[in-house]
Symmetry: C2
Subunit: 319 residues, 2 copies
């Protein structure tokens, strides 16, 4: 029996799981939220305690790691985390190989989640796919010819900062109208908040959002917008419509450029309901050339995609 | 001595060349313009006469073909030509293999030119690159991991129809503000023509263009705009500036998505002078994320890129 340890260092949560090779069920699974003042040290400490509680001294055969930030997948060295301090140039792979004495592979979460969906999820049986996660950010990972494509420096997949509307609102990246600015949860919440502040209590526009947050506009989230849209709120529908428009244009552009068979979409925002998917499918179809065919499907592994991808990474290290 | 026959079925011209493997010089080279009423039959007839004049009965060891339109590279079957009638589903590879009795490979011109630049031109020594040709259209071809990436159905590389300005002018493809609509020679000429028709003889705007075409606005071309811009014409500079803006945004988006080491730019429009390249470099740098690095260089093989790529295709067929 080959035992795999899969780790997921997310921006806000840490998760670890074990699985016997061939099984589709976790043997053990532990997760914990990252504390507010988290740094690399505290993250590693929490992860160690999760691992201990899972392994109870048993040695795994290999370790796979998903990390929420840029990683040099060749060396397994973390470049940095955009959410947690102190991760600059941490040699995570070496660190874990020294500690556990087994082969370890580390890659960034979007690449790992793409690999997870390809090997165990919605991408099974396809040879080329682009995985997109739409959540607090918008990121992506490639599978080409059945293998991860990471780009010359491991930076491939950044659909989030593709500009789709150069006259759109300014993103933290400095550009206007990139996909992430229009489609990520926090930015959509920010836009809703600003509109509701500037247009107080106009008939029916945003009334359901206000109800859901009890008029406390600060607590609007992407999730609340999804719920409000599902309940028929016009403002929430507008904002989600623009998000799905941006994603659809992005996907169509990507289809023209790389012509993959499949797009797999994960992350909370993609749960925004049928209208969201309709607009997204329509816009991607209109943006892609008529000769360029593709499917768009929801991710199958949910929040576990990075962990399952980490299992695939670990398996590859044993070959 | 291994003799390669390279063929280039362009939209408006036909070219054939022979080379001994290892040599960087053509042994023989023939080209002819496609007649105005060309169809697949006449193109094939002209190509046969070019080949006969080159080979004089000698049998080549392999044939490589660049075709100006979508091709199924696996079977070597042409799907269609957007410029010449009658090419629908022509099994060009089978046809040539039957006729010459030697291994033959066929692929579309952008993929073949990318391969040419990679093996014999500006892309030598790089492992991942995107070749872009900016001429009567805007097309592209991929080299990833040292091999052509054609996409699931051979349609990859279509940067020309990436939307960079959704409020821009309408393209033949039905979308607004795609790269080809803003940066291809004929569209730029059309835009100049319309502006000059609507704003007759305003001070200094377009005066040099008018001089160059002797007030015959119909004869404005991309080339003439390049020349006028180089001579200081403000309108020509504006139009070329928008073209290089569009290309720069497109390149930056592609860099974020695929993170190739190198972009190689060919085609007449890229000869528009230093300012064109400055804007293009600046915009691509601003559009790409700070961590995403790449170089942009001019193509080295000029109009011969497809023929040299055809040589590489033919060589691959001998392995």
């Amino acid at each position: 029996m080959t035992l795999i340890l899969a780790l997921d260092f997310g921006g806000t949560k840490l998760a670890a799981a074990t699985v016997n090779v061939g099984s589709k069920q976790w043997l053990g699974y532990e997760r914990r939220l990252s504390p507010t003042n988290a740094n690399a040290e505290t993250d590693l400490e929490i992860m160690r305690s999760l691992i201990n509680s899972l392994l109870k001294g048993v040695k795994p055969d290999a370790i796979g790691v998903s990390f929420g930030g840029p990683v040099d997948a060749t060396t397994g060295k973390v470049r940095l985390s955009h959410h947690v301090m102190g991760w600059e140039n941490v040699p995570l792979r070496n660190l874990l190989e020294d500690e556990f004495g087994v082969p370890t592979r580390v890659d960034n979460d979007a690449n790992v989640a793409a690999l997870g969906e390809y090997r165990f999820g919605a991408g099974q049986g396809y040879d080329s796919l682009f995985y997109i996660t739409v959540s607090t950010g918008v990121g992506g990972g490639w599978i080409l010819n059945g293998k991860p494509w990471r780009g010359a420096e491991g930076m491939a997949g950044e659909i989030g900062h593709m500009v789709v509307d150069p006259s759109g609102p300014v993103c933290l990246c400095g550009k206007r109208g990139c996909v992430e600015r229009l489609a990520s949860g926090p930015y959509m919440a920010q836009d809703a908040r600003e509109i509701l502040l500037n247009e107080p209590h106009r008939d029916y526009r945003g009334e359901i959002i206000r109800e859901l947050v009890g008029d406390n506009l600060e607590s609007i989230t992407g999730q609340i917008l999804s719920n409000a849209a599902a309940a028929g709120d016009n403002l929430a529908k507008e904002i989600l419509c623009r998000a799905s428009w941006a994603l659809g244009v992005g996907i169509g552009n990507v289809a023209n450029l790389i012509n993959p068979q499949l797009f797999v979409l994960g992350g909370g925002v993609t749960k925004a309901g049928e209208h969201f998917w309709e607009v997204l499918r329509k816009m991607s179809r209109e943006t892609a050339l008529p000769e360029v065919n593709f499917e768009i499907v929801p991710a199958a592994l949910g929040d576990d995609a990075p962990l399952w991808g980490a299992v695939a990474l670990a398996l590859d290290s044993l070959q």
